[in-house]
């Protein structure tokens, strides 16, 4: 995949399939130490120890339709190209945490890509789930927590058109602020 955000989208789809109600995504771009860390944590049904051991194998999957499952192994390969790795911690009934590291400045590291589109897309498609997205860069952090948004909205769903517009603008603005560059507005 050409963007890290696409890998992230893919792994979060796993969390949704695992019936998670809250999905936490944390991205830390540590320019000083040259590390990029992506953590995806869910409170879904989790995996037992034996399954965790085999889950990175591309020929391992929980679905019944066919015998391949490439998402995690593709993400791990992308990380390993960049001196990083992918690790999984999971407990049945508690949830799963996937942690992926990259050398931030590695020449093979794919660009972050459209994180805003990824996160807002996930929220719109899953208005009943909660997402907590934190993105840290240059010692600044942008946070988008659907629990806070829901508290303001009451009964109005997260995929209501005006809310969608707000989510897009809020995320784009927040990410622009932390990633830096000259703000011309």
């Amino acid at each position: 995949m050409r963007e890290l955000s696409l890998h992230i989208l893919d792994i979060i789809q796993n969390a949704i399939t695992a019936q998670a109600k809250l999905i936490t995504l944390d991205i830390i771009e540590d320019r000083q130490n040259n590390w990029l860390t992506v953590t995806i944590k869910d409170n879904g049904k989790g995996m037992d120890e034996a399954f965790v051991k085999t889950v990175l194998d591309p020929f391992c999957t929980s679905r019944k339709t066919r015998k391949v499952g490439l998402g995690l192994s593709l993400f791990r390969t992308a990380a390993q190209y960049c001196e990083g790795d992918l690790t999984i911690a999971s407990e049945v009934g508690v949830g799963t945490t996937v942690t992926v590291t990259f050398r931030l400045g590695h020449i093979d590291r794919a660009p972050m890509g459209d994180m805003g589109g990824t996160v807002v897309g996930l929220i719109i498609m899953n208005p009943t789930l909660d997402f907590c997205y934190g993105h840290q860069c240059n010692a600044q952090t942008f946070t988008l927590d659907t629990r806070e948004i829901r508290a303001q909205l009451g009964d109005v769903p997260l995929n209501y058109p005006d809310v969608v517009e707000w989510l897009k603008a809020y995320t784009a603005e927040g990410l622009e602020n932390i990633v830096g560059g000259v703000n011309t507005k």
Binding site: M1, L6, L9, D10, Q13, I16, T17, R63, T65, G69, L70, G71, L74, D114, G117, T118, V120, G121, I124, M125, N126, E148, I149, Q152, L153, G154, D155, V156, P157, N159, Y160, P161, D162, V163, V164, E165, W166, A169, Y170, E173
Partner: protein
């Protein structure tokens, strides 16, 4: 600047204009294939194009959701449209440009674009 406080105004407006709950349950569903195959083939731009077009036209009865692998990975990105009382329509090899046409023709005017459907590929 966007702030969380603006949401309260959106809420007030939403509650004033429509009865969200009853309208939501009966609308059309747009389902985007979001497995590894779909994502790698470009499902996200397709999804974002749908949300843009739908909010531009204020189609508040249309909901967008995802599914796993539909099973024909070579035809991804795929989109299924479920309209109550009608047969499901599956669009294949979708692009953001095609989405604008599908929203205009199918979702607004109810005319299926046959050449983009899976039937045209078989």
């Amino acid at each position: 600047m966007k702030s969380l406080e603006q949401l309260a105004a959106i809420r007030k407006k939403a509650l004033d204009t429509v009865n969200i709950r009853t309208e939501r349950t009966e609308g059309t569903r747009v389902v985007v294939g979001m497995a590894t195959c779909g994502i790698a083939a470009g499902a996200r731009p397709v999804l974002n194009a749908f949300t843009d077009e739908i909010s531009k036209r204020n189609l508040s009865s249309v909901t967008i959701t995802q599914t796993g692998c539909i099973g024909v990975c070579r035809l991804e990105p795929m989109v299924e449209i479920y309209t109550p009382g009608q047969e499901k329509v599956t669009y294949v090899n979708m692009t953001a440009e095609k989405v604008a046409e599908v929203v205009h023709s199918h979702l607004v005017n109810g005319i299926v674009i046959n050449q983009y459907t899976i039937g045209a590929m078989a």
